[in-house]
Symmetry: D2
Subunit: 496 residues, 4 copies
């Protein structure tokens, strides 16, 4: 409804009412104007109507929706199924060109506009979250990114035919921290020219702390080696974004990679690659953009754009603050639960998201049950009858045979079955192959960590109500399992 159409409408409905309606439409167009001018999150989040208006206009600016368009190419944004078209808001052309995923797509002015806005808003959202002085970031429609700039680092590195060199963490109290000196030695041993990049990690499971990205950045600057920060879900923690910003200011950082779903509560599938602003400092981001072969899905861009418009600056800041508060709340509640269970929360101040709780008591119960089962099995092998076999079977937590020892990791499965997801239970002493490399205690960050433990994260979107329910289920499940294993241990004993 432009001015002409409003004037025509005023011959159907009183001009004064139409004029008010027109003013309301203009108010929404001014919101769009502000967005296009500022390329920042709006102060207040937009309502759904305004977001849909923007998406609709954009979709109608793409050639696949042009009235009267005929397409004689092999890729014309045709969509066979109306339901699919609606799921994509009629945006079908994707983004980028074969030469550059960040390039505009000539057949799709609207999609290109949305993609650019998404990148600008992502940059602004990073800034609000504390990542200062960044160049315009690159949004990638994959959780993976390209080449060596990836988040699940080992997989990504080997996919690029590089050889990963792992520098083990150091234990300090409960904490696992970066061995900066070890890194330096490793680089010098290989020769800086032979090192594609040093990859550090900020967000990770407790008891690991964030890597000391400032120290590593200084080291990389000194050695002349690229430095990539895997900031997977670190945007949500103010201490991590502050550390990354400091690293960029005081040392060398070539790229900072983060996941969109973990940091911005969108469906899985996108990542944001940032780099410090400054002449040439985003060379790697540029290279990734130009190295991404082919046109790509714009879903990740769309999801992020819509979410950031929905939040606005106020909403995004509030969500971030709520997460900071939640970390404190989870710490307290988990500490109380641990105290009740005779366990304790690991002291990991360097990890602002994930918390660990020891499971020593539970592990002891498991060990007792296993010992009793072994004894019973030995007795059985020595000639005992069928009754003891049944007893031995009863000792198994997961319902397995007497051969299978119970394991404290069963506690994780138990929580999952009770609708608690996302916790991890780790007990060191397992080997696993990842990308062809054998890790002792994979997932434990280091070999031989002195406690079995469980982690829980205060992640974006978790609520206090979630924590309350979690703690109740946690305590109940722990006690049930402990009783069960103690009983198993006792029963075996009684059989003697």
């Amino acid at each position: 409804m432009d001015a002409d159409n409003l004037q025509l409408a005023a011959s159907l409905v009183s001009p004064s009412y139409i004029s008010q309606g027109g003013a309301a439409l203009a108010a929404r167009r001014r919101l769009v104007k502000g967005l296009l001018s500022n390329r920042r999150l709006p102060q207040e989040g937009w309502d759904e109507a305004t977001i849909e208006m923007l998406l609709q206009d954009a979709a109608l600016m793409d050639s696949n929706t042009f009235p009267g368009q005929v397409g004689l190419g092999e890729r014309e944004g045709r969509v066979a199924c109306p339901l699919v078209a609606r799921m994509h808001c009629r945006l079908a052309h994707g983004i980028g060109r074969s030469g550059d995923i960040a390039a505009e797509q000539p057949k799709a002015a609207g999609s290109s506009m949305l993609a650019k806005l998404a990148a600008h808003l992502a940059g602004d959202a990073l800034r609000i979250a504390g990542l200062a002085d960044m160049a315009l970031p690159l949004l990638l429609p994959s959780a993976t990114g390209m080449a060596l700039t990836l988040k699940t680092c080992l997989k990504a590195i080997t996919a690029a035919n590089l050889v990963p060199i792992v520098v083990e963490l150091l234990q300090q109290g409960d904490h696992l921290v970066t061995d900066v000196a070890g890194m330096q030695q490793a680089v010098e041993r290989l020769g800086p020219a032979n090192v594609a990049a040093v990859v550090t990690t900020t967000s990770c499971f407790a008891p690991r702390a964030s890597d000391d990205v400032v120290a590593v950045a200084k080291l990389c600057s000194k050695l002349g080696v690229p430095h990539i920060i895997n900031n997977a879900y670190g945007v949500q923690a103010a201490s991590l974004t502050a550390a990354v910003t400091a690293a960029c200011r005081r040392g060398r950082v070539d790229a900072i990679v983060q996941s969109t779903d973990k940091n911005f509560m969108v469906p899985v599938g996108g990542s944001v690659v940032a780099a410090p602003a400054g002449k040439g400092r985003d060379w790697l981001v540029q290279a990734v953009a130009k190295g991404y072969p082919g046109r790509a899905s714009m879903t990740a861009h769309l999801d992020l754009l819509v979410t950031l418009l929905h939040w606005g600056t106020v909403g995004w800041a509030r969500v971030l603050q709520q997460r900071e508060d939640l970390y404190g709340y989870l710490s307290e509640q988990l500490a109380q639960a641990a105290a009740q269970l005779g366990e304790r929360v690991l002291s990991t101040p360097g990890n602002p998201i994930s918390l660990g709780m020891t499971l020593d008591g539970l592990a002891a119960a498991a060990a007792a049950a296993n010992a009793a089962a072994d004894e019973a099995a030995a007795a059985a092998a020595a000639g005992a009858g069928s009754s003891s076999e049944a007893a031995a079977g009863a000792a198994a937590g997961g319902g397995g045979s007497s051969k299978k020892h119970v394991d404290v990791t069963f506690f994780g499965a138990m929580l999952w079955a009770r609708n608690v997801s996302g916790t991890r239970v780790l007990t060191c002493g397992k080997q696993q192959d990842v990308a062809g490399i054998t890790f002792a205690d994979y997932g434990c960050h280091i070999s031989g960590y002195p406690h079995p433990y469980m982690t829980a994260a205060a992640a974006l979107g978790t609520t206090k109500a979630d924590v309350d329910v979690f703690v109740v289920r946690l305590v109940r499940a722990y006690k049930e399992l402990q009783v069960k294993w103690r009983r198993a241990a006792g029963q075996q004993t009684n059989l003697k």
Copy 2:
């Protein structure tokens, strides 16, 4: 995206691409412009994107969506549930004011605009269907309308505290036609001043023909009595719209009422009340509009508007033509089926939608089965043992006891159970009370019609494929039922 915003967008994406996108947006706005200027169906139907653009703009012109609006009244178009808001495209204020359902609603410029457009397009659609020279029609958000202008006439008339006088139809061959002379006598007997209105009907089930609306219109003109045409689903038949148009030109017609769902394939719930154009001729339509108490739902308006935009003139004309063709096709296919079954299609050229087929053979089979059952029951009552009771039970078509006679109307239920809906099976000889009046052979149009029969309609939206499937199921069900009843008749005989 107005010109200002397009210019801003051109700093994000190449101006030439933005310019093309802007041209496409402008092309769609021109479609809206044409609609607002012409107030007629667009030549070609609109695509969904353009329809949604119009609805969205309208919704944003209603005060319940105004950014910054505060409402301190009791009716502010607030919608609690987002899903409900979406189902209504955020249009919540309804239409009309307490004084007039056709009036604009000050709080809802957008809704008012859509409601006006709906009325104009309804008028145009009636015109295309053959109802010429009509005033702007009134859309009502009820299948009922108000006062005496209603479609299910008896109910409506008694709801308005009027006493209906029924003038029986005359049988001519298979046909049942208007007794114009009888009408005249009835009006004169009561005195024209005591007659609220003569109500005629165009669309109805065979074997009834359309009332002779031209003759009645002339009669009403002569007698000075209002004449209301119940044109329930007559918009879809060119011969009916032609007759109504002729009645308006040559006699008195005060209102023509039609259902939106039956004529325009929208969900149940609306009606269109038309009247001939000309000074004062739409007095009754105006009175109904002003007599409709309270604001009302705009759903019926919206459904009709969207459907007519979806069709456009071309689509609507095609749908009408397909129905005309389908009538011929159904006639042929039904005649072939009837021949195969020893029945015949009733000759009802005055009904262009509904067709009747005799069920004489089936009724004969039912009668034979019933006679045999009666005989068996008599024998049983006279002292026969349990075996004959079982036999008597077997004679019942619907699985009932020997007391219940089988009935040819069971054939209708049988078709329904085989996923054929909309057919009616009628056999005269039943009484029914409707609105306090006792009708012999209700549904049969007249008492004592000489055949039991089944009707099927060639209604808007029925396809040739529907007819093909229908005829197969019809023949199969008929034969099965005939065999069953014949067998029942035979079995009883054998028991003797």
Copy 3:
């Protein structure tokens, strides 16, 4: 995904994961089970997914969506436009049969089920809101209802060809209250047998109080006259529902009519007609159901059902409580504003929703401006030059000519222009024809109310933030207008 399909799915995805997924589906089906068993609001509101699951299942139980169905009738729930079908969740058949709007529709088992559930939930929602001991209410798809049971009473009564007798209210302090004695006299004067019904009103604009429905109910019981309560938006106020309940217990109440949009925050278009439970006490509700001609739209049922499921008992009770709280908040804020402006809030404790504020000061300013304008006009007429004409013109508030006096009602338009809707400004001394009856001071409830005043309502869905913004705009607009009119008065004086 029934058990069979889940088992098949378990050959694609691990059985344990499928099993958890199946458990989640079963949990949702149990919610539906609870709804079908209890026919009450669920304790907690349902999420959108569960609501959509119910609607989808229902839609697929209607014959218009049956796979393989062929329709040979004229009303088969066909929907031409996919967008329209989606707006209705594919529910197209409407509700009721021609004989009874509350009857089930054979072609639409799903729609019928939803309609029944809507009625049951509406009854439960009324109960939660304080309307105790009611029979199953009737939902009507019109804001009007039928016959004499309507909300905008005068219109409705005359539409049914009845003659309304108005018993004027009595003024008590600021309050306007029911003249019970006057009602008794009116009924006795006409003879109880000649009175179709006494209609009382609970919810209304201040300074009118709710009618004394208990006293009137006792009176009607004594006189043997039907009593209909127009409880238009009274469901939201606990004191009103308590009064209605008491009236039902202690006297005669035949029907209680309320609007769905005003009480349940759904789009305009439905009403709920309740009656006390007890043998025969809902005769009028039954009569209305059976008197509603034709099948009808199910949109109003659907909107109400979805909204009540969305709220659940907890949500609905919270919304009601928030409104009660808001009334207190609005009273306080409005009193502060009035004090600031030299006005006062009318004392109307009998109206728990609407509040009035005097506009005496503003009216005085208007009077002064008008007097000055009259004087100037007289002087001009007596030979004054063009300069005074301009001055006279400047006195007009609305920009009119010197002939048009300014009027305190302009204040209402001013608020509307500043995005405040729903307030009413009333100044007694105007006549208006409504339904052919001339009212002095229509809208003022009685003639000659001693103050001009403005009303504002604490209606369901209004927020404290709304009130805060409202009060700021109110004070600002008042002061501006007062200054303007005072200046106009002063300027005229200066011209002398």
Copy 4:
């Protein structure tokens, strides 16, 4: 609505109607059962209701929607914005695990099920299209795939740090065909052990023919070198799928990569990687699946699944057949247009999708215009006045200065401006750098092709109406441009 709930519903609505509704629900569940059992396209396409039912059930089987679930991890499928959740049908967890994109995701049984179904259906769709004997294909949520298996081959290869060796095509008549001998020489020169893979292409722009994949497959088998077929949009052409099938049967093929958007009319963003069935033959597909780092978006899977269900076997086969027919139609129409313009269609029987038309006449006109402009410029430089400058300017096709020669590629821009997209105009003699390699005549397939030409594709989804409009616009634009350039040439001449 399972059996329990249907039984409860039967206490609200007549059991017989509920029973019919339940039967309809069961009929739809049987469709799902068939899908889960057969893992093939349904014979007839599903309606939207059935598709949505499947998606809804799946979404409710993912842990992010579980009622009562609490998530204490960093990736729990939380979605902040309701609009985003709806765009994804509430499916938020993505697919795969960090170790394998084709693995099931434990937190998302529903998404995993859909992803598996998508892969199976993709395999069936390939089979229907003629790709016989394939293993279960891998769907990738990127248009790029990983490693060397990519479609825009050069980019992809260099992204993987490999060095591409290009074997030039051979010209045969108008055709450009595979130089199989050249390939063999290249591989032998490098040594087979040093060749990562031979990459062939089936679908491409005319005048290039599909590579002789059978011959290359035999060669690779003989040499022991992997062979990857870039079948970008070749699924849609029966001759190409037949050739690929033959190549797999008679030689070595390790992977066949195709785009989803080009072959299945879904939005840009996915690819299907197939390999012949047989022990170990899909090693590369498995490796790609396991090498894809991180969880990934499921949008591409969802789009493809929904589209294939929408089509069913019948719909998909029809779409394929229509494309085959369209190729013939486009050939004819283009030949007629060419004849009219003095051009001809290139004879490229080895390319079943793309057609080329010479632009010799247009190039001649351009050359004449340029020559005239040069002459004029030379004259101007030699001292001519201002009038000739204007004339020189007039010679420029694109409105550029006299320095810029007109170019036949301008014809492509002209078509685009007239709403014809997808055509390409090529004239050899340009150099371009792609991925660091300099190509003479990039886009021309070989250097020095003897004609400038235009291509147009008979791609999936193109209609006869598109072709009709295209040919009209083509002829008109050609003639306009020819006239313009001839005039420019003539005017210059006249100036002499």
